[in-house]
Symmetry: C2
Subunit: 285 residues, 2 copies
């Protein structure tokens, strides 16, 4: 599920009371899947900040109203979050921004939750396959060369064989003619820190995974380990991908040591002094 990887969270924004119950259904179901979800009313919402801070926005309102809003904030394919629109009655889920950047998949998942129709309007033959963008999301990685991504997506849609060399990728989640056993394909997707000049190869750069752990004073190392392992499994990541663990609880260092991950101990004062616009956005501006 693409939407389960939305670790920065999903914002469900409803415009008027008629949409509240649909918005609440989405919120509850996503929370039950452990997706961090916030429910907001349009009027009270600092949309500019949400735009920067969440992995997906779901507007519960009319498409034509949402489009006017989207136009105020959209900046570009690589930076905008996927945006879905659900009508008040929860009949349709329409990806209105970032179709190939997760919005199609997210729409299908939200539609399943609601028993609604996912209005997928990208070419039908595209939708049956995992795009390069989907693969990057699943790998928690960044696409270094967007131009090759367009070519490789074309190859995927045409059903051509594409060699994929991305360690740890959940292969069962991919749909397409992918070859995981070598690089003897015309088109390739591989991990690299730098883009090379092969125009038929998409280079993915793994993002750093730095985990901050909040815990009660009495929490044991076992519980911390269990929680972290559970979260990593949901994101499809192994411990080897974790580049840092941090906490105000010293007990977390035991887990870090066990898995060979650098640990940083913070004080409450240090945490409180952090000034970053995307820290858990409060529901009301």
């Amino acid at each position: 599920m693409i939407i389960e990887g939305a670790w920065r969270g999903v914002a469900v924004v409803y415009a008027n009371p008629m949409g509240l119950s649909t918005a609440e259904r989405i919120e509850n179901e996503l929370r039950s899947k452990e997706v961090p979800t916030i429910l907001l009313q349009y009027a009270d919402t600092d949309l500019e900040r949400l735009w920067e801070c969440v992995d997906c926005i779901v507007f519960v309102m009319a498409v034509s109203g949402a489009v006017r809003t989207v136009c105020r904030f959209a900046k570009g394919k690589e930076v905008d979050p996927p945006v879905l629109v659900v009508d008040d009655s929860g009949k349709y889920v329409v990806p209105v921004l970032g179709a190939h950047w997760g919005a199609n998949s997210a729409a299908r998942e939200v539609a399943e939750i609601l028993g609604a129709t996912a209005v997928i309007t990208t070419a039908a033959e595209e939708f049956g396959y995992s795009s390069v963008e989907d693969i990057a999301k699943l790998a928690v990685a960044k696409i270094l060369n967007l131009r090759a991504a367009v070519k490789v997506n074309g190859a995927i849609v045409r059903g051509e064989r594409v060699c994929v060399d991305v360690p740890g990728l959940p292969r069962e989640a991919l749909r397409g003619n992918f070859d995981f056993s070598g690089d003897q394909c015309e088109y390739r997707i591989r991990v690299s820190d730098e883009e090379s000049d092969d125009p038929n190869t998409v280079y993915l750069k793994f993002l750093n995974v730095s985990l901050g752990v909040g815990a009660k004073e009495e929490t044991t190392a076992d519980v911390v380990e269990e929680g972290l392992t559970h979260v990593l499994a949901r994101l499809g990541l192994s411990w080897s991908r974790v580049t840092k663990l941090s906490s105000i609880r010293r007990v977390v260092s035991e887990v870090a040591e066990k898995f060979g991950v650098p640990f940083m101990l913070f004080t409450t004062e240090q945490l409180e002094s952090v000034d970053w616009t995307c820290l858990t956005p409060p529901p009301v501006s």
Copy 2:
């Protein structure tokens, strides 16, 4: 049919060859309904001019792609044309701009043509009724006070009785609790040249209807009269609404005289010297 009143025309814009046959189906069916329709490929299109010059734009492409385009041109509710998006395969028709300004109705009509689903995402209870904007379109009139329109639309949706005093309106096309026999309602829609200060009354100002007639040299007055009467019937207008007839053919003056409409005779040179951006947009920029 709202879309039949699109006398300035409908532009069908397809993005790639996969959408061409769907775009052509829409074009052919609209033309068969005598709606002036042009078919254009996205890449060749002067969208900025289309935006100003047509009564409806139908994009055949993905919603998320169309939204980026819409964002470049949208200016405001009162000035933007209704915009629909149809996916390449012609499965969905989504009103993405101007839902209440004709896009919902137009989407339903295009969906009927294609055997597609009209993805109406405004509140379901709104959609069953004719909005003030629909009524203004049917009357070929302009809404003078938008604020009252919001209130009266609310009353229509709630099923409250609304008094309508708009001569020549095709009553059978209206859905709602409308009273055509008087003005003893809390909410009213009426024709006026100026807005008064009643906040519960929508004032519609009739637009001037000026008809320019092109004809072959040998065309008779009877044929001109028949053609004009046919067009006026399609627009739901009586001869009394026509404020001017003009042509380079003197024979048209006979029809003007018969119906008591002022006539203007132009020369070919005068016509050719007209410089206005919206004169029949050529399909390629």
